[in-house]
């Protein structure tokens, strides 16, 4: 099962890369930059997926106190930080040529930044707690809190920007034609598979390290 999952993920990632870099045509408005979105959007979805897994597993850990849930929660928190960091980086690399700025106060960007900060905090709390057991509990609490807070942050940023000034160029303006949809869908699938594999491997590693 394990080699199969890793192989399938690698294959999906390669196909996704091929579709994104060769098959997909340049967009009429964004040009070649549309290819950045094939990594940006899937990374964002993977970040939110990882955060959801971290929240669920942490809540289960706090409820059942089963170490296995903590392993999953920890993996989720690390991957949420990783993928949200990647989302921010690729978002900036897309924004500079297309919007002309590295950073726009777009709701999605701000929300992702908040997610990144909260999960970095979550990991720091775990490492800096005075006792490993306490670290597991405290970081689980932060993971739950962060995930519940993020939607509120998102909507407040959306309303803060849109009610004040007209929205700048937003993703909603770009209609997705099928030739763009296919690479996006395949890449999203590939990143979610990657997330699943990394989650499983990270959790397994954590269990090995505890047994030691």
């Amino acid at each position: 099962m394990r080699p199969f999952a890793v192989g399938a993920t690698a294959a999906l990632l390669s196909v996704g890369l091929f579709l994104a870099l060769w098959v997909s045509p340049p967009d009429s408005y964004q040009g070649e930059y549309v290819r950045i979105l094939y990594v940006h959007v899937p990374a964002a979805l993977a970040a939110y997926g990882a955060a959801a897994v971290a929240c669920g597993a942490s809540a289960l850990y706090l409820w059942r106190r089963d170490l296995r849930w903590d392993f999953v929660g920890r993996a989720g928190a690390e991957l949420a930080a990783l993928f949200s960091g990647l989302t921010l980086l690729t978002g900036m690399l897309w924004g500079k040529p297309v919007w002309g700025v590295w950073w726009a106060w777009d709701a999605r960007l701000v929300t992702t930044a908040v997610l990144f900060l909260l999960y970095v905090g979550c990991l720091l709390v775990r490492d800096l707690a005075d006792d490993p057991e306490r670290g597991r509990r405290l970081s689980a609490a932060v993971a739950v809190l962060a995930f519940l807070d993020v939607p509120v942050v998102h909507y407040s940023v959306v309303w803060f920007r849109t009610l004040h000034q007209g929205p700048s160029i937003s993703l909603q303006g770009v209609k997705l034609a099928p030739e763009f949809l296919l690479p996006l869908a395949v890449n999203t699938l590939a990143y979610l598979a990657l997330l699943g594999v990394l989650l499983a491997e990270r959790a397994r590693l954590a269990s090995l390290e505890v047994e030691r």
Binding site: L118, L124, A129, L138
Partner: protein, 217 residues
């Protein structure tokens, strides 16, 4: 009845210690004042810069004020004594929450007054501001109480406090700024009462439950 007595006892204890030592209100207040001054200076001090400056300074002062209540328990093993009393630990959360709420309202009132002077800000719509202040104090105190308890057993806890507190309370900041602007200009408040209400509801429900998990041995 007994839970209420415990909540009031904890809040009264915190406020009495605060009244005698003033070791949260004075540092947090002067820090907020410094932030307000600096923001006023760099923004040119126009009245339209007043609401953001007010809410940013309040949020930063809240970081200091909320952390102090938990620090005070560090000495003399009082936290352990508090936790080992019979009865629900949610009462301890609510007691601390109540005390932090009072501190935040005092801080907010003080900073608002200074902001009116420094920014020459209009004083219209005080009723709206009072209600916004109350609602945000509820939410901020819940987050602050929870995080302060969470970080007492973490090395460099006071340094992590802003890292977790500020991103988590972004909705209060945004809602506060827009409501202040609405109060000053008489414009409609939009969805901001809803944002504050949802934020409060979320943390007043989750806060006590997570607090119990966080303080347990």
């Amino acid at each position: 009845m007994r839970a209420w007595r415990r909540v009031v006892a904890v809040a009264r204890k915190d406020l009495l210690l605060e009244w005698r030592g003033r070791d949260a209100l004075i540092p947090a207040g002067s820090f907020g004042l410094a932030v307000l001054l600096v923001l006023g200076l760099v923004s040119g001090g126009g009245w339209e810069a007043a609401p953001p400056a007010l809410w940013v300074s309040l949020l930063l002062a809240a970081v200091v004020a909320a952390g102090r209540g938990a620090d005070r328990e560090g000495e003399e093993g009082t936290l352990e004594a508090l936790l080992l009393y019979p009865g629900s630990r949610e009462d301890l959360f609510w007691g601390r929450w109540l005390a932090v709420c009072v501190l935040l309202l005092l801080l907010g009132a003080g900073l608002w007054g200074v902001q009116v002077l420094l920014f020459n800000a209009p004083t219209r719509g005080v009723g709206v501001l009072v209600l916004a202040g109350l609602l945000s104090a509820f939410g901020l105190a819940a987050v602050g109480t929870l995080l302060a308890a969470l970080l007492t057993h973490v090395r460099a806890g006071p340094l992590l406090m802003p890292l977790l507190f500020l991103p988590a309370t972004v909705p209060v900041l945004l809602a506060g700024v827009r409501l202040s602007e609405a109060a000053a200009s008489g414009a409609p408040a939009g969805p901001w009462w809803g944002v504050l209400a949802v934020f409060d509801l979320l943390f007043l429900l989750v806060g006590p439950a997570l607090f119990e998990v966080v303080v347990e041995a």
